[in-house]
């Protein structure tokens, strides 16, 4: 990159985190992602403080109103304020994404750990299971799971987290297999370190880069999965708002053709957020990869 930050020049005295930050902050796209994401987060979290309408208030005198001075982004078919629903939908969509990714990280790390430290038989068994879970097209699996779990916030979180851990467990397994043979781990074993000690004192800190990058990119993915499910009517059920089920309204031809604001705003918010998170995730991946300094 063009800007030779002090961090890279005096790298001898800096830790890996500082150097990672140096790489991250010289990545324009990643900073742009951050610049889009932070305002979105602030708006979504703080909306009850500055917006008079709440997402489920029904105003029968203002059905299907176009964006205007009172309802900035218009209202929907039963007179609910689109901006308020957009903000509340953002809360739900982001919560679902973050929680499901957190769960899938725990599952993914543990499964990876079991596979890499459990011996050959366990490893083979677990990895075949992972293969199987990865065979089915994700959306198909999602539909089947969703038909079982039903609609609502909690089932949607369960479905998405059940779907997303296999990829991570593979990456964790590969990393842990490599670590297991490293001298410091062998030494720790020789001194009688327990399995939890090996996993959480040595394994976890040394896989943190995988986990952070995976988490970021997977959150973007989870937002899309939630939106897709809700769009098909299998995710978050109305009256609760989510970006996906707001888009669901556009399956009706009248809404699609005449009340454009009812689905274009949630769609825009969705794409913007996912785009920002993807930029961020890409930046993080480069930042955590020490080899990217060489280019």
């Amino acid at each position: 990159m063009t800007a030779e930050t002090p961090a890279t020049v005096r790298s001898a005295s800096k830790g890996p985190w500082v150097r990672a930050w140096g790489r991250f902050s010289s990545n324009g796209a990643a900073l742009a992602g951050l610049a889009i994401l932070v305002p979105i987060l602030v708006l979504v979290i703080s909306y009850p403080l500055w917006w008079p309408y709440s997402p489920n208030d029904i105003d029968l005198r203002a059905l299907n109103q176009a964006p205007g001075p009172v309802h900035w982004l218009g209202t929907d078919g039963v007179g609910r304020d689109i901006l308020a629903r957009l903000m509340q939908g953002g809360r739900i969509s982001l919560t679902v994404a973050v929680v499901s990714v957190a769960i899938s990280i725990v599952i993914g790390f543990l499964v990876g750990a079991i596979a890499s430290f459990g011996g050959k038989v366990v490893d083979n068994g677990v990895m075949r299971l992972v293969d199987l879970a990865m065979t089915l097209p994700p959306v198909i699996f999602l539909l089947v799971l969703a038909s079982i779990a039903g609609t609502g916030v909690a089932p949607t979180i369960v479905v998405i987290s059940l779907l997303s851990w296999p990829v991570l467990s593979r990456m964790v397994r590969a990393r842990l297999l490599e670590l297991r043979e490293r001298d410091f781990v062998v030494a720790a074993r020789g001194m009688g370190a327990s399995l939890p000690h090996l996993l959480f004192r040595h394994g976890l800190p040394n896989s943190i880069d995988i986990l952070v990058v995976y988490a970021t990119l997977q959150i973007a993915n989870a937002i899309l999965l939630e939106a897709g499910l809700s769009f098909l009517g299998l995710g978050i059920a109305p009256p609760e708002a989510s970006w996906g089920n707001m888009l669901n309204a556009a399956r009706s031809t009248v809404v699609l053709e005449q009340y454009v604001w009812q689905w274009m705003f949630p769609g825009g918010a969705l794409v913007l957020t996912v785009l920002a998170i993807n930029f961020l995730g890409d930046g993080l991946r480069d930042a955590f990869d020490p080899r990217s300094d060489l280019n």
Binding site: L132, L136, V139, L232, T253, L256, V271
Partner: protein, 305 residues
């Protein structure tokens, strides 16, 4: 693999809450408990799970996937088979567009690295990856069918009119293009990265030093090798394309597997869900196998074991 898949799907579906019998019963005139039990017996819903599974499997091997619970008397197999054609058509068209567009854009981007064209393509690719299929489908439907009226707004053929190729193509173009967006973006990014790596290699420099014209250096020397990882990518993302097809089908009312599956899930029609999932899963496994074979054919370094 397919067998394991069928067990998984079977177990998952039987965990589902709700009784498929309920769908038979008109809430206004409830059946007597005896009649409902008779119905359960006839459909075999009370047998132990392994019995149900093996009964289903034995029939499935001979091509009998049972009957739809919702549409009484309609066997699943023809129901699924008649949907394969439209879905394959849609996916093949979408994939073809994605491959052509993605690879071309990837090559242009890599050759004119860091030019405005490259940056433009890369940003577009990022937007393409970040937009879900159903949103691009809605936008496409809105602009091209509603606003501009260039394309019909759904279905595969104009109802009432006889079959004609032109009519089919007119209905196909928009969904196929929209389906290709996400894929084209992915292929473009891989192609760009892969070609950039190849262009740095010694044999490319040798070719240039020999005086080979730049066009041939790229097309004959670099692109062939750069295509290898892209082929793997295309194979391994078929599953994602299936997912995209489901959304496109449900927005455009395209009579394919996706629409069938979504409707079946909505009405808890277990035999149809299982049949459709099995066929889709098996197709994906076969496509992955084909990709591996293609890979070996393109890259002589790989020996088929």
């Amino acid at each position: 693999m397919v067998l394991a898949l069928s067990v998984l799907v079977f177990i998952l579906l039987r965990l589902a809450p709700g009784d498929p019998i309920d769908a038979y019963v008109n809430p206004a005139s409830p059946l007597s408990p005896d009649a409902m039990q008779a119905l359960r017996d006839r459909l075999g819903l009370d047998a132990p799970l392994p019995v149900q599974y093996f009964g289903w499997l034995r029939a499935a091997v001979t091509g009998d996937l049972g009957f739809s619970i919702q549409r009484v008397g309609v066997p699943v197999l023809p129901l699924v088979l008649e949907r394969i054609g439209p879905t394959l058509l849609l996916m093949a068209a979408g994939l073809a567009i994605a491959i052509v567009v993605g690879i071309t854009a990837g090559i242009i981007s890599a050759v004119r690295r860091n030019s405005p064209t490259d940056i433009g393509f890369s940003v577009l690719a990022f937007v393409g990856i970040s937009s879900p299929a159903f949103l691009t489908a809605l936008l496409g439907l809105y602009f091209f069918s509603v606003q501009l009226r260039w394309a019909p707004s759904g279905g595969m053929l104009t109802p009432g009119a006889g079959f004609s190729l032109g009519d089919l193509l007119a209905h196909l173009v928009l969904p196929a293009c929209l389906l290709s967006i996400g894929h084209a973006a992915l292929i473009m990014r891989y192609m760009r990265a892969s070609l950039l790596e190849v262009l740095n290699q010694d044999y490319v420099r040798t070719a240039r030093a020999k005086g080979v014209r730049e066009f041939f250096v790229i097309v004959k020397h670099a692109v062939r090798n750069a295509l290898l990882p892209v082929i793997t990518l295309i194979g391994s993302t078929i599953g994602i394309a299936v997912g995209g097809a489901i959304f496109i089908e449900s927005v455009f009312n395209w009579p394919g597997m996706g629409l069938l599956l979504v409707n079946a899930v909505e009405t808890r029609d277990y035999p149809v869900i299982m049949g459709a999932t099995l066929v889709i899963g098996a197709t994906v496994i076969v496509v992955n196998l084909l990709t591996d074979i293609t890979y070996a054919a393109v890259d002589p370094r790989i020996q088929v074991a």
